[in-house]
Symmetry: C2
């Protein structure tokens, strides 16, 4: 790759490695003392860590059922929009349709959803929750509510709305173009 333009203005930023330290101890135990440098203050990096922590927290709550955040989102959207297609569901939850295929196959196998051929368009499926699906959703909803309450406590209830709006601005603003 190395394109020609790479005329080495280099050096530039990234702070220096703090003059030859004695090899910097990265303790055996696990940890600590690893400098993150600029990363420590980059929104994108912290956003990733926060998202993963949230995902793990949710998964921890629902661990036993084997249903993860993604399943919850799918069941919820199907519940809210009975009869929608797989493609529409994917767009709503932000996943490619091909990613949903195996997920929905599994939810169907578990008896949580039905995939009826849409009368109006025989290529697509009309997704619906079965009674068992509604039940599973209610159960997940309980975990989700508890999880969101935990997030709320950390965010600070008084900041919740502003935080949410900031996230939405990021989502909308990065939707496929930036400067």
């Amino acid at each position: 790759m190395a394109q020609p333009t790479r005329a080495t203005p280099a050096r530039a930023r990234t702070s220096k490695p703090r003059a030859e330290q004695p090899t910097l101890r990265v303790l055996p135990g696990g940890l600590a003392s690893v400098r993150l440098g600029p990363l420590q203050d980059m929104l994108g990096f912290q956003l990733r860590l926060a998202q993963e922590a949230s995902f793990a927290g949710f998964a921890r709550r629902t661990g036993d059922s084997g249903l993860k955040p993604g399943h919850f989102a799918a069941l919820l959207v199907i519940h809210e929009n009975p009869g929608l297609s797989q493609t529409a569901l994917g767009a709503a939850v932000g996943r490619d349709k091909s990613t949903l295929t195996p997920k929905l196959t599994e939810l169907e196998r578990r008896g949580l959803i039905r995939r009826d051929r849409a009368a109006a368009d025989r290529r697509s499926y009309a997704l619906r929750l079965t009674p068992e699906g509604e039940e599973a959703l209610a159960e997940l909803q309980r975990h989700a509510t508890a999880h969101d309450a935990a997030l709320d406590r950390l965010v600070g209830p008084e900041n919740r709305q502003a935080f949410l709006e900031t996230l939405r601005r990021l989502i909308a603003g990065l939707d496929s173009d930036d400067t």
Copy 2:
């Protein structure tokens, strides 16, 4: 901000599917009109979308080099902590050591890093950037700075610090236990 006591005491029941609609049209084009229900206000869900949008935005900027956010984080941490081990790097950037193996192999193949056997512990590698690695890092740093500036504009410079701290609270608070 607005948080009238958590206005929505949880509409408890995932709101109803709006009595049998005429099958709810999910337009062909790309659509819209898909109700997200409670998902719309869940921090975890919006956090995921925001993180993915940010990742995509960064990747779009560095697309040509083939270096993604993960590579940037790795190069930066190595730069900041020359000589650290793969395990320590993984802990710092939040990735399992086994995930880094192929990534580092590639960075080495590209000549961006060196993996010297650590004198003190011949099981581990002492990671360092090569001059080419420093150069690549500087280039990525430019993209990262631009990207973060874009995020800044969306977050609102005056909210940046608070937003960052909120993310850190979430990360720390969910670190492996909640209620």
